[in-house]
Amino acid sequence: MEKKILVIDDNADILELVTMILELDGFEVVSSKNGLETESLVAEHKPDAILLDVLLGNVDGRYLCHLVKSNSETSHIPVIMISASHAARSIQEGYCQPDDFVSKPFDIDDLVFRIRKLL
């Protein structure tokens, strides 16, 4: 059975490209540009992993991570955060506790490797 990955990024190009990368690697992808839909999409699709951009425009990705990880029903879902900012690496030690962190611009093989490692 294909593993389902939820991808949240406000940049349409990145969203489309990441979706293509993951689909080519055999994942089922659910994606959204709107961070505010994260909770409902998690509840609806029960993804096996979540790929979450830090800067989402209308909402802070770290806050969304915190929501997922602080909810007992979803806390088990691995969350990988993506950001162009090096400073965002410190989020791993912050309140949101993601499972991994990927810096932009990422290597697509590395991205897939990190997702598979957490599944």
Binding site: N11, D13, I14, E16, L17, V18, M20, I21, L24, L55, L56, G57, N58, A84, S85, H86, A87, K104, P105, F106, D107, I108, D109
Partner: protein, 575 residues
């Protein structure tokens, strides 16, 4: 033995002579003492009466008693008469003086002169000075007054001699005293002259010192005024602290930075000047961490020590402190502290840090798409899976590459603006065509429609590329910040020398407090808490471009009802 007749005759003759000698001596004594006025002498011609006509009794006593020597000389210069005073003068018994030749009593040196004087005196009364010689060979200066006398018994010369020894001695002493007096006078004169010169020199010196002092006082007063003026107008705050850190002086700038009055500030020490102190990392600064405390402990100056304070108006101010101990000789007497409000510098540093972070993020975003597109293209070409996606991947690679180039251009433009005015290549262009061309470029793949109104034929004199840059930026901003707006309306109108182009959106509008900063470098409006992409350079660059054209870029916005950005550019009438 009986005496012979001859013997007896000789004894009788001797006795007679003895008697005659005693008689003669008595006579002489009687004459000298004035006891007799005349003598009867028995000669060859019988008895003759010799009367002492010119020397009556009183006169002879007077001559004998006078202090001068008195002589009478005959024509052979023999002394016929001498008073006792003359004999005493020479230290020779009076009886021996009588009958001596006067010249024998004169010194060898003066003798011929004496003879001339005496010789001449027979004809005319004479007075002269010469020297006698006493019996021990001592020289005695005398003044002689000579006068010829006609007496019954013939001519004789009276000589009065005044002993000048005492006079000469007095004269000599007087001369010595005069010389000494002269020397003393000269010394006194010299001293006086020196004194005058010294007084004059001292007076001049004093006057010069007074002038110098006055000049120095003027310079000091002038310097003090200048210093006071500097202290009152300088951009840096300055406080003088005593040895326990209490403020003893604070200039107006210091009072302003700490928000304390001139009286209030003097009641404080360096730590209570502000209500709170913080390190640059935001942590509260303890007294022991304050740069003045550190300087006082180490007794070494501190330079550019930056801290953040909360002043007494509850404002946060970053200050850079320089402090140095003050010494009087080797005694520590306090601290001079200068400080600069570096809030703006710190703000700019924050802005730069923020900008670098934003620029890095903004460049990485299209680079991520570009890199992913290229890697996917490689994979598709290797595996032949998803080959239908190739055009989409190429398009994404190109558009993201264009975004990177656009960002690089923005950075280059900012750099150019900072280093001088942007060069313009002015040409006549139809404004409406420029608007339409840019709108197509930006709005084509969006649901937003362009509505253009006004002077469609209006020609403007602009750098076409730069004005396109402005229009693209305004359209992009409208899409980014007014995404809910369905149309973008452009109105072109003509002024006397300028064309006005207004770009209107119907989005959320811009909060009034943010309008003032809209054209600042790095400034980004963050409407309704949204995080938006971009470097915050677009409007700054656009503003510079329009200013370079001699026009203005302005904004009007009504919150919740949209914004209108307008710019003016020269028409051909402006030529």
């Amino acid at each position: 033995m009986e005496k012979s007749k001859e013997h007896i005759a000789l004894e009788q003759a001797f006795s007679q002579l003895k008697a005659e000698l005693e008689e003669a001596n008595d006579v002489i004594h009687a004459i000298r003492t004035g006891e007799i006025d005349a003598l009867v002498v028995k000669g060859s011609e019988g008895h003759q009466l010799f009367t002492l006509k010119s020397a009556d009794h009183t006169y002879r006593i007077f001559i004998e008693q006078m202090s001068e020597g008195a002589l009478t000389l005959d024509k052979f210069d023999n002394i016929l008469y001498s008073n006792s005073q003359f004999a005493k003068l020479l230290g020779i018994p009076l009886e021996k003086v009588i009958g001596m030749n006067f010249s024998a009593l004169v010194t060898h040196e003066d003798r011929s002169f004496a003879m001339e004087v005496v010789g001449g005196a027979w004809d005319v009364d004479t007075r002269a000075e010469l020297r006698l010689e006493n019996y021990v060979g001592e020289k005695i200066s005398v003044q002689i007054s000579l006068k010829a006398l006609e007496l019954d018994e013939g001519k004789s010369l009276s000589v009065i001699l005044t002993d000048l020894t005492a006079l000469k001695k007095s004269q000599s002493q007087l001369e010595i005293q005069n010389k000494e007096l002269e020397i003393a006078r000269q010394i006194a004169e010299e001293l006086n002259s020196n004194l005058e010169a010294t007084v004059k020199a001292r007076t001049q010196e004093l006057e010069s010192n007074i002038r110098d002092k006055v000049r120095v006082e003027e310079v000091l007063r002038s310097n003090e005024q200048r210093l006071t003026s500097i202290l009152h107008t300088m951009g840096e705050g300055l406080c003088i602290l005593d040895t326990i850190g209490q403020v003893t002086f604070a200039n107006p700038r210091a009072q302003k930075i700490f928000a304390l009055s001139a009286e209030e500030i003097l009641l404080r020490d360096y730590f209570t000047l502000q209500s709170e102190c913080f390190s640059l990392d935001g942590s509260t600064l303890q007294r022991e961490q304050h740069p003045i405390y550190i300087m006082s402990v180490n007794q070494k100056p501190v330079y550019d020590h930056e801290i953040m304070i909360r002043n007494h108006k509850d404002e946060s101010v970053y200050i850079s402190i320089n402090a140095s101990p003050l010494y009087d000789g080797e005694i520590f007497i306090g601290v001079v502290m200068t400080f600069t409000d570096v809030t703006n510098r710190r703000k700019i540093a924050f802005q730069k840090d923020e900008f670098i972070s934003v620029a890095s993020h903004e460049i990485k975003t299209p680079l991520t798409s570009l890199k992913a597109s290229m890697q996917l293209l490689t994979r598709v070409m290797e595996t032949n899976l998803g080959s239908e996606k190739i055009p989409m991947l190429i398009q994404k690679a190109n558009s993201n590459l264009a975004k990177v180039v656009h960002l690089a251009d923005d950075l280059m433009n900012v750099s150019k603006i900072q280093h001088g005015p942007l060069p313009l290549n002015l040409e006549e262009t139809n404004m409406a065509s420029l608007v339409i061309s840019c709108a197509e470029q930006i709005l084509n793949h969006t649901p937003v429609k362009l509505v253009i109104e006004g002077e469609m034929e209006l020609s403007v004199l602009v750098d076409q590329q730069r004005i396109e840059q402005v229009l693209v930026n305004l359209f992009n901003n409208a899409l980014k910040y007014a995404s809910e707006s369905k149309i973008i309306k452009v109105i072109i109108s003509q002024g006397e020398k300028f064309a006005k182009v207004s770009v209107q959106d119907f989005g959320a509008g811009i909060p009034p407090e943010k309008l003032a900063h809209l054209f600042d470098r790095y400034y980004q409006v963050d409407p309704q808490g949204k995080q938006v992409s971009g470097l915050g350079l677009g409007l700054y660059i656009s503003h510079e471009i329009i200013q370079r054209h001699g026009g203005e870029l302005t904004v009007e916005s009504t919150f919740d009802f949209g914004s209108t950005f307008s710019f003016t550019v020269p028409t051909r009438n402006n030529l």
